[in-house]
Amino acid sequence: MSEASLLYTTPCYSPVGDGAMLIELGQGIDATLNERVLQLETYIRNLKVAGVIETTPAYASLLLHYDPDQVSFDDLQATVSSIHLDELPTDRKRYGWQIPVCYGGEYGEDLDAVAEYHHLTSAEVIRLHSKGRYRVYMMGFAPGFTYLGGLAEQLHTPRRDNPRLHTPAGSVSIGGMQALIAGVAMPSGWQLLGQTPLATYDPQRDPPFLIAPGDEVHFHPVNATEFKRLQKAAAKGKWVAEKVSLND
């Protein structure tokens, strides 16, 4: 299937209850399609449409939360339909992030099992995971949960049969063809490869969120000593990840 065929010719609009409109731009996991979702989101936010309260972008769709006392579903659909999707501004601000990860051991309890599953060494799994270039397709589920596409095919791994009841904030894991950074401690069935000292979400820090949907993520391995040092810095509000603009 070519990339273009994932995009619908015209978006699909449907109500999600009486206060939200789902705009589906296509189906599947595809960078072009996902970028289009975020371009449309940025455009609608900049339009400041009366009655639109909030936007939730996902892989291939965008949810507009609206107040029906201020704008009707039909008027909102008409407004969005009149936007030329092929002419949306493409200069949306995007950033790249260099993120430290401590792999294996107590930080990534499934590293060895994932290596065994693929008949690789743990070092090869670390190399494959940390040389990847990942796109943030979505932040969802819980605060700071960063869903990444771009996992090397050799690392595609089914989720665990028995989900763990507790995985720490900062967990770096994989599930199926996706990779993930966890923003808060949660139960999880994903395979834990490591942990980052970076807090993708910290309500005490300004801004509380660093990474945004559409950004690019790179990982680099750090040892446990370095992890602990960075974790202390992060507790004081330091970012402990490098940020570069991708717009130049």
């Binding site: 449907s14 109500p15 999600v16 209850g17 009486d18 206060g19 939200a20 789902l22 589906e24 189906q27 599947g28 996991i29 989101e41 309260i53 909030e54 936007t55 939730t56 972008p57 996902a58 892989y59 291939a60 769709s61 965008l62 949810l63 939360h65 029906p68 006392d69 009707s72 579903f73 979505m138 932040m139 969802g140 589920f141 819980a142 605060p143 700071g144 949960f145 869903y147 923003g183 808060v184 949660m186 979400y201 309500p203 509380p208 969120f209 945004a212 949907p213």
Partner: protein, 318 residues
């Protein structure tokens, strides 16, 4: 020194809630807020607060508080909890002026399980990401992001409650238990067989499973037949969305639900009816009826007018 309410005892899941958080869903932050936002607003109305003032939410369990300020005015509304003041029965859905040392006790509920204690002027709380709503899973809001515990003290913003005539909610405006819930079909109704949709709308008694909480209500009973492998690429969800996971048993998302989900959604419970669903305990029987978006929005508007008129409808006590 002004203080307020000392928590003597609080049942599991007693939290500070308001009308929820807006603006951070794109980073994965759920709206959370009151399970029954209507009851929270009525409680606030009874003490003359802005309707979105943070209140104490009780979930099934009981709670006891001691007044540690000179005087305060409060009202408890929602659920079938019983109220007592210094060991004697006290009226619910009625404003009460309490004095220092008074002990207010709220019994546990059986048939309608969410209740709200509003205090005139509200509590001194630090909003996190624009709201005081507690989301325990992400340690957000309330007092330190967690449920209330014995020994904690909530500080009142009003130094005292001036004496005035108290008000009460007229009996005919008390909530009634709803068993049938209106839904708007979609957005993935096409991922279900015609029989699946028929089963969803014509099963007279789904049962609220014991494994239900503020994230979602699991319903047992009939299985909903879906098309394909029962997974979709994750898309945004809101409270009220009825997801159908591989088991075929529907899960109705509630106030604390995630922002996105990977299961197809057969329908969404309308915002006017969701608070009534949130009141039901495990074991309750429910059914669903499809309505148009127009009917759902008309119900929403009627509810808004009802709330706007509410201050004029309260009974002033002698």
């Amino acid at each position: 020194m002004t203080r307020g309410l000392l928590v003597l005892q609080a049942g599991a899941g007693t939290t500070i809630q308001d009308l929820g958080r807006t603006g951070y869903r794109r980073y994965g932050v759920t709206g959370s807020g009151a399970m029954d936002p209507l009851a929270l607003q009525v409680a606030n109305c009874l003490v003359g607060n802005p309707f979105d003032t943070p209140c104490i939410e009780l979930n099934i369990g009981s709670a006891d508080f001691r007044v540690t300020t000179d005087s305060l005015r409060c009202a408890f509304h929602g659920g079938d909890f019983n109220l007592s003041l210094n060991g004697l029965p006290a009226p619910v859905s009625t404003s009460l002026r309490l004095r220092q040392g008074d002990i207010i006790s709220i019994s546990s509920a059986r048939q309608r399980i969410r209740g709200y204690l509003a205090v005139e002027g509200g509590f001194e709380l630090e909003p996190v990401l624009g709201s005081c709503a507690t989301h325990v899973r992400s340690k957000l809001g309330g007092l330190d992001g967690g449920p209330l515990e014995a020994g904690q003290e909530l500080v009142c913003l009003e130094t005292e409650a001036p004496a005035r005539k108290e008000v009460s909610l007229p009996y005919e405006l008390h909530p009634k238990t709803r068993r049938q819930f209106r839904v708007i079909l979609g957005p993935q109704a096409d991922r279900f067989t015609a029989e699946g949709i028929y089963t969803f709308l014509n099963t007279t008694a789904f049962r609220v499973d014991k494994d239900s909480d503020s994230l979602g209500y699991r319903l047992t009973g009939a299985r909903i037949e879906y098309i394909g492998d029962g997974n979709i690429v994750s898309d945004p969800v809101v409270p009220g969305c009825v997801q159908v996971p591989a088991s075929g048993h529907p899960l109705v998302l509630m106030a604390d639900c995630p922002t996105t989900g990977g299961y197809p959604k057969i329908a969404t419970v309308i915002s006017t009816d969701l608070p009534d669903l949130a009141q039901l305990p495990p074991g309750a029987e429910v059914s669903f009826r499809a309505v148009s978006l127009e009917e759902a929005q008309a119900a929403r508007q009627k509810r808004r007018h009802w709330l706007a008129e509410l201050p004029n409808k309260l009974i002033t006590l002698p």
